[in-house]
Symmetry: C2
Subunit: 215 residues, 2 copies
DNA sequence: AGGCTTTAAACGGTATACTAAAATTTAAGC
DNA sequence: GCTTAAATTTTAGTATACCGTTTAAAGCCT
């Protein structure tokens, strides 16, 4: 019953998990939407088990909330928890930038510069369709420079959890975002830990939609 | 262990998870020990499913490492990853202390003082059997003062992951630890965010066994 | 004896089945 | 009509079964 083409080797759980994360982050599911194991499994053509495990893993990442005997819903952090998330994320992004500025591995920095250029190029062209991907790529590449894998994992889940609090479709905001990226990179290259940290922290706060804190 | 009425049945998954966490943190399982689903399920008298889920959740917390098709082992972070963990944890403990100093909710601070006193009392009596519990209680109580739940969760998993890097059986070290706790609390009460943060960060680094960084 | 196949056992991934708690609907009483 | 209770459906928790990998063991050859 299973077997899409080819890759019989990726665990189903992972595929389901990635598919669900995608759909949650795309906003395909509203916050609070119930994610019923049976329905999803049927829709995806797999048994409930992989779905169940995927939901639990997403819960561990904070994208989904599970209440025993009541199932999973797309999590909707309360207003005050949103600021909590932002606060933690800002702190960790600051640490990340600080470590990047400390190590500033030349090869990784080159890679990071390429990502920055790619993002800026699309902005020049007025193409904002890939901005989310570009943005993720930048932060991931910055994580590579810092070299702290634990930190990178943590930041990634926090970024996912907070992604719905940002808007990436406002051209003005996007330009500002990438200006900040360039500033951070400059500080990293200069090895200025303190500046890199401060810029990275502010970068997080700046990207928050003003109304997000109070809805 | 199970409490009030109406607490019908806690999900088996949770019980298995807690039991396994306990045993891992107690050092009953060496690092690298294989955790075979079938064996554990048999030993605990449940089916493989709760065990499987528990293992996955522990993997999300970083206590266990799962390799697809190869099963779970008690995770043994490489030496460099240990310092990564410490670095992240120190940063978040600093944030935690900073927020605590900012909010300094009187009731929670009173609770925190009680915890501090309890720990100090046991040290006076020369009773070190409960130090791990006291230590956890202090950091948990400090988290309550800060009021950031997200942060608290994160710190708790990091504390679990790093707990084997510390020694809590050396009386000299323990005394030092609790002197630091008192210092942190004093800074929190004084509302000195910066000092509280620095002390909390150092507190983490100080507690690391010197040889832990290189083993 | 030591390496290379071949075979058997162990184990994880997934599917299916069953049970009991919630949620929902329907029925009953005021 | 509205509230409450009983019946029905939905759904999460758990158990069992099966298959394909992976790992360990047993032969086999030189």
């Amino acid at each position: 019953m299973s077997l899409a083409i080819g890759d019989a080797h990726t665990p189903l759980t992972k595929m389901v998990k990635d598919a669900l994360r995608q759909r949650i982050l795309n906003g395909e599911f509203e916050q609070g939407t119930r994610l019923v194991e049976g329905r999803i499994s049927e829709e995806m053509g797999v048994s409930r088990m992989p779905v169940r495990e995927a939901l639990r893993e997403l819960a561990a990442e904070g994208l989904v909330k599970i209440i025993p005997r009541r199932g999973a819903t797309v999590s909707m952090p309360a207003a005050d928890q949103k600021m909590d998330l932002i606060e933690v994320r800002a702190t960790l992004e600051a640490l990340n930038a600080r470590l990047a500025a400390r190590r500033k591995d030349p090869d990784r920095i080159t890679a990071l510069q390429r990502v920055l250029a790619a993002g800026e190029a699309d902005i020049e062209k007025g193409d904002f369709s890939e901005m989310r991907a570009h943005n993720d790529a930048f932060h991931t590449a910055l994580g590579e420079v810092s070299g702290n894998v634990t930190l990178q994992d943590l930041i990634r889940t926090l970024r996912d959890q907070t992604s719905m609090l940002f808007k990436q479709d406002d051209p003005v905001k996007v330009r500002e975002t990438w200006r900040e990226h360039a500033d951070i990179l400059r500080a990293v290259i200069a090895g200025d830990e303190e500046l890199a940290a401060i810029l990275a922290s502010r970068h997080v706060y700046n990207a928050v939609e003003p109304e997000a804190a109070t809805d």
